[in-house]
């Protein structure tokens, strides 16, 4: 549990750091903290704080979704987007951009809320399509295959749409690469609500995930309904991923790496994993967000690029360590 305390402490430190790191220099930001004025208060409390809080919540949702996906599919390489969510969200965004074409320049704010909603709807629709294609939730292998098919299909549709409107490509870019730059208090609040809605049922059925780790037959023989367990977990997985994708776009690797980090360092059952992975994922995305703001200061990198690089390096290290053990 010390490890989890470390996660929480890291989050507190990162939150504090995120208040003083931004486009302005650190000295200026520190000055704002101690001698606030109207404008700096807005920057600190309406822009930087909701951004870092939202980043934490989105990372936590992705960590939770990753832990659930890996338990549900009994595969340590499963990740939140494996049921086609990312492609579905991208298609949703493309469609909303096409639809809101007329108001793009005039009402950026409305468009943004519209884009968020569209991404969410797209992600949920993709999962529904995946479940439909695999004819239910009882066959893990066919769920995974259907997820791949749906992902390819929806990506193809998105690409075709963008071919007809190349001007939309730039607007899509920030979404596809993942960005924490658009997070407001309302976005952070939505993510927080989604996190509570996801983590409570997930922990309630965590023992089912433990049982599932012994095999599907064994889990069933213990007296639990595989269908109920799968439906609950798929629901949570969809909500968590759709909420996160809607607010921060497609941020890769957090959902894959966070549960791994927890499992590598702690002896855990799924109840502990479903608490640890969100804490770890939240801290990871906050850290990535800070790096993305700071590394090419005063410009920003897309946060998805940072998580991809860091997550990729971590996985390679993991691979090397494994092969040295074997």
């Amino acid at each position: 549990m010390n490890w989890l305390a470390a996660c929480v402490a890291t989050t507190v430190i990162l939150t504090a750091a995120s208040l003083v790191i931004g486009t302005s220099s650190i000295e200026t930001s520190l000055g704002w903290l101690f001698t606030p004025d109207a404008q700096s208060a807005v920057i600190l409390w309406q822009i930087r704080l909701p951004r870092t809080v939202g980043a934490w919540a989105a990372g936590a949702l992705l960590g939770l979704a990753g832990a659930i996906a890996q338990g549900l599919f009994r595969n340590p390489l499963a990740e939140p987007y494996l049921l086609g969510t990312a492609s579905g969200a991208a298609l949703g965004v493309t469609l909303s951009l096409l639809g809101a074409d007329a108001s793009i320049g005039a009402l950026a704010w409305t468009t943004k809320v519209g884009v968020t909603g569209a991404a969410c709807v797209g992600a949920c629709a993709a999962i529904a399509l995946t479940i439909l294609l695999s004819r239910g939730v009882l066959q893990t292998a066919s769920l995974l295959l259907s997820g791949i098919v749906v992902a390819f299909l929806l990506s193809a549709v998105t690409s075709l749409l963008l071919l007809t409107r190349p001007d939309l490509w730039r607007s899509m870019q920030s979404f596809l690469l993942g960005s924490t730059g658009f997070l407001s208090w309302s976005g952070a609040a939505l993510l927080g609500i989604a996190l509570v809605l996801c983590i409570v049922p997930a922990i309630l059925v965590s023992r089912g995930l433990d049982a599932l780790s012994l095999g599907e037959d064994t889990a069933q023989s213990l007296g639990l309904s595989l269908r109920m367990l799968r439906l609950t977990l798929l629901g949570v997985l969809s909500l968590a991923t759709a909420a996160a994708v809607g607010q921060v776009g497609i941020v890769g690797f957090i959902g894959l790496v966070a549960p791994h980090l927890v499992r590598e360092t702690l002896t855990v059952n799924h109840r502990q994993l479903l608490i640890g992975a969100p804490l770890c994922g939240g801290a990871l995305l906050q850290a990535a967000d800070l790096v993305s703001r700071w590394i090419i200061h005063p410009a920003e990198l897309p946060v998805g690029a940072v998580t991809a690089v860091v997550g990729g390096v971590y996985l390679v290290l993991l691979l090397w360590r494994r092969s040295r053990h074997d």
Binding site: S221, G223, V268
Partner: protein
Amino acid sequence: MTEAPRSQPASSQATPAQAARAAALRTEDLALGYGPRTVLRDITLAIEAGAWTAIVGPNGSGKSTLLRALAGLAAPRAGRVFLRGRPLDQWSRRERARELAWLAQDSGATNLTAAEVVGLGRFAHSGWLGSRKTEDDAAMRRAMLATGSLPWAARRMATLSGGERQRVLLARVLAVEAPVLLLDEPTTHLDPPHQEDIARILRDQAHGCGVCVLSAIHDLSLALTADRLIVLGATGLVGHGTVRAALDGDWLSTAFRTRVDIVEIAGVYLWRPTLAAASPLPAKRP
């Protein structure tokens, strides 16, 4: 172990001796299969409590299929299964899981500790939240003592050897304290002494605790140490009865469609490979 009343009527096919001991599990005209294949037809069996019954037969003869159907994990194509007199599909999921414990042939790679795995055996009693009562802890402890797996309670499954892991998994099954145990190849991948350990635990459960133990066993000599045999062949059920009856009727040769030579040494039946007789080895071996 649970000393549940066993008052249901025995099957009509049962001999008087069987009826006296009462069938814990009974099947009626069962037809089973997987994929497009129907492997077993017209299977009518009465499996009694207080005895260890081994299922033997060649690969693909339907040992696992039969066990899965008896455990309620696969629906039969035809016929019915009765668990303690009541049709299997009329039991609620939880109730059934308390009456019938199942050990799969292969278990997944898990991150859990041995104690957590055994604790899952109490799922049907303690539920989703796993709020364990004293009786659950006691059952877990008894199961781990019976299998000798208590020393590894706090260790991760991944750090245990194959034999140790199998004992923990067996403890998980015993922790259910169910009157019926179904085990699919509980001794595969184990070296002979470890196989013997597992077999001894199974026999103790049957003889000492009055449990109905039914297991598929690949090793013929080991299977012959059971009380009763269910012999499956390529074309279905060859026979069901005591080991003596199986040997007298030469069921094994019928099932494997080759001569299966069983010798008796000091009251123990052993399978003797007849390789030498079939193709004589050169007199001098290198």
